[in-house]
């Protein structure tokens, strides 16, 4: 029993519905009183501040400097952004990123929704299917990219070997600008379908079966049920996955980085024609390979603005018609 705290002892144990007149309410405690709790959660915030929050704003500062990573920084104002505006490679990288994003997100989300619906109606081996479909997401992206590189290799790849058996001449998967994007998108689709499927599955399981039963009694077939019941109810979940996929898809970096690795003899990044050069890969090349940290920072900040715009557009598109 603490002797020093609080009001009169017995009053604390008296059952009461309303505060008796004349008794002061217990004094509100200031935030400092909770220091133990704050201390307990502080590691995350300290690490976050040091390794995420500070670097983010430091990079904004860097975008206005010219810096080689070691020497003295030189303030150049908006010069980096002016360079960016005139830089055809930057715009090429934006185009590449958007194309790869569309080519991967659309099949990913469609595939995920279809798989989730199928899996929802499966009766046996549910756990097995879930794990099997989720595994690609936890596989090392580097290993997967190396594997894809071997499978789609122009001269000695598995895909071309199989096409050869059927009598189709080899397809230049890793040198044609469009096919490069297709291969990267395929890789991303393969990786993210299972992840989105799990989210959709959780959403599907939350829909009460009575709604489906009612639809069945009204004579709705499976396709109609899917489009008129499942999709509208799932809208908030679809919105969530669309936004997450936008953010993930636009950040594609490892896939082209591993598929088209550079080395001393070949400083070329992003594959033939720079067709696989995504914006983040270009940022990496500028900052860390060319030692142009200011320009790299300008690239990512310009790109950040673009992602925000795209997320906003996506939000509007996906929520449209909701109020109607």
């Amino acid at each position: 029993m603490s002797k020093h705290r609080g009001g009169p002892g017995p009053a604390r144990f008296r059952p009461r519905r309303t505060a008796p007149a004349g008794t002061a309410r217990p004094k509100r405690r200031g935030p400092l009183a909770y220091w133990r709790q704050y201390l307990a959660i502080s590691p995350f915030y300290l690490i976050f501040a040091a390794f995420s929050f500070f670097p983010v704003f430091y990079s904004l500062y860097l975008a206005f400097q010219r810096w080689d990573g070691m020497g003295t920084m030189q303030f150049v104002g908006l010069q980096q952004f002016r360079f960016l505006w005139d830089d055809p490679v930057f715009w090429l990288s934006i185009r590449n990123t958007l194309v790869i994003w569309v080519l991967s997100t659309v099949p990913t989300l469609f595939g995920a929704l279809t798989l989730a619906t199928l899996l929802h109606s499966v009766r046996r081996f549910k756990g097995f299917y879930r794990i099997a479909l989720y595994v690609p997401n936890v596989t090392s992206i580097v290993a997967v990219a190396i594997f894809f590189g071997a499978v789609f290799s122009n001269n000695f790849g598995l895909v071309n070997a199989i096409l050869g058996v059927v009598g189709i001449s080899p397809v230049p998967w890793l040198s044609n600008p469009w096919l490069i994007k297709v291969v990267i998108s395929l890789l991303m689709t393969w990786q993210w379908t299972g992840y989105n499927m799990i989210i959709y599955l959780a959403g599907l399981q939350a829909i009460p079966t009575s709604i489906y039963e009612a639809a069945k009694m009204d004579g709705a077939g499976p396709i109609r049920t899917f489009f008129q019941i499942t999709i509208p109810i799932m809208r908030p979940i679809i919105l969530f996955t669309v936004i997450i996929s936008t953010i993930n898809g636009l950040q594609s970096f490892s896939e082209p980085q591993v598929l088209f690795a550079s080395n001393a003899a070949n400083a070329n990044l992003g594959g033939p024609g720079q067709a696989g050069l995504t914006t983040l890969l270009y940022f990496y090349q500028s900052a860390f390979l060319n030692n142009d940290y200011g320009y790299g920072a300008a690239i990512v900040w310009a790109f950040f603005v673009l992602i925000i715009i795209l997320v906003a557009v996506n939000w509007r598109l996906t929520t449209r018609g909701r109020k109607a």
Binding site: G149, A264, N268, N291
Partner: protein, 425 residues
């Protein structure tokens, strides 16, 4: 979460151990401040030095110094840059890759001048052009040469023989004394060996053709000269095999699979021999090597440097000059295909022996003279960045069939922009 008490204790102990380890790593080479430290750290990457020599150095100096070595993986330059910028946990001795040395020169004040420590007295033992590349304009020496990458032409003896070409290295070298002779020979060889190609891609030709000159993309006054005649000539040379149809156009990672099958020649540095050997072990004995057309270039080759924070410069310099003494440098060639920067090593038994992969040829007879004949070209800090668009556009020619003239124009305008961005006028 149901975590048993034992599980919790184990996890807690592991976390504590891990953080302790981190602290230990971080603290081991802090900016101690004393200039006669007993502990020195050495950073290098796998294959930069002979591991055997490094291990011996540890015991050799154990009475005065405890040498700790760390083999740093991943992007070495980036890790070193970050550490130097942060100023703590800086290694006492570090490797620097040849292609990165130019970008470290503007920040030479981050390193000790090796001339102050006695490099001047022994510098004549090392190739002059290599030493100069790690020197600032005012003569400060930041890099101690480890190895170099003199280029040569690797060729398939069996394909040559099938086409009725004399396969003796000296004779082949005479046959390919100019680029045009080399390409014409390629056309002939391809006729006799259908499905084969002379070069793997045209970027590799461009790389060597540029390296044969005395000027690169930026001159000493920091002007962009990437649109000059010397680069244009290298470009024209590089495009030739493409127009002649003797270019295999390999720009993805299928080189490994192609090298033992349908490539007639490979242009590359001495260390490239190991790449070929690993990618195509079944072709053992079928390769030979001779001087590449026109003259040698240099590709790669590294340095050791002492960052400013070095805790015991005198001892550190003693260690690196021991590790890189001609005799130990020669052992690097046997252990890890590191081609020494000290010409005295070329006469040592470790290097003069026959190489079974090259059908018993004594490859030093090709690389030794090449090493000494390499010309010095000023390499600006932004050189690698400015060169990149040329490589990209050459790839565009191969992959998309872009017209060489259009590709040249785009490459130059791109390169100019990158140069301007990096402060080159």
């Amino acid at each position: 979460m149901d975590l048993s008490r034992r599980g919790f204790l184990q996890a807690a102990a592991l976390t504590a151990a891990a953080s302790g380890l981190t602290v230990a790593c971080g603290g081991s080479s802090g900016s101690g401040g004393t200039k006669n430290g007993k502990n020195l750290t050495l950073w290098y990457w796998g294959g930069a030095l002979s591991d055997k020599v490094v291990a011996e150095a540890k015991t050799h100096f154990s009475s005065e110094i405890k040498l700790t070595t760390a083999s740093i993986g991943g992007d070495f330059k980036q890790k070193l840059t970050t550490t130097l910028a942060a100023g703590t946990s800086v290694p006492d001795i570090t490797g620097i890759k040849g292609e990165d040395i130019a970008s470290f020169l503007p920040n030479a004040n981050r390193f000790l001048d090796l001339n102050d420590l006695g490099f001047k007295k022994i510098s004549s033992q090392y190739l002059d052009w290599k030493t100069k590349l790690a020197q600032t304009e005012d003569g400060k020496q930041i890099g101690f040469p480890i190895d170099i990458g003199p280029t040569a032409m690797f060729y398939r003896e069996d394909f040559f023989a099938k086409a009725g070409v004399d396969t003796d290295p000296a004779k082949v070298a005479a046959l390919v004394s100019t680029w045009e002779d080399y390409f014409q020979l390629g056309v002939e060889l391809q006729k006799k060996n259908p499905g084969t190609y002379l070069v793997n891609n045209i970027s590799s030709v461009f790389n060597i053709a540029v390296g044969q000159g005395t000027q690169r993309f930026i001159d000493k006054d920091n002007h962009f000269i990437g649109d000059g005649d010397h680069i244009r000539a290298a470009w024209t040379t590089a495009v030739r095999p493409y127009t002649l149809g003797i270019d295999a156009k390999i720009n993805d990672q299928t080189w490994n699979a192609a090298v033992g099958k349908n490539l007639l020649t490979e242009l590359g540095a001495a260390w490239h021999a190991l790449d070929i050997e690993q990618a195509a072990p079944q072709t053992k004995g079928k390769w030979r090597v001779c001087a590449n057309p026109v003259g040698p270039a240099n590709q790669g080759g590294s340095y050791l440097a002492l960052p400013k924070q070095c805790r015991n410069p005198e001892e550190a310099f003693k260690i690196i000059s021991w590790i890189l003494s001609p005799a130990n440098d020669a052992r690097g060639f046997t252990d890890a295909a590191i081609f020494p920067a000290a010409p005295a090593a070329y006469a040592m038994p470790a290097m003069t022996g026959p190489d079974a992969f090259f059908g018993g040829q004594k490859v030093i007879e090709v690389f030794g003279p090449a090493a000494k004949a390499i010309k010095v070209a000023y390499e600006a800090p932004a050189d690698a960045a400015v060169m990149a668009p040329f490589m990209t556009e050459l790839t565009n020619i191969e992959a998309k069939g872009k017209k060489p003239d259009d590709a040249w124009k785009d490459a130059v305008s791109q390169a100019k922009q990158i140069a301007r961005r990096q402060g080159v006028s």
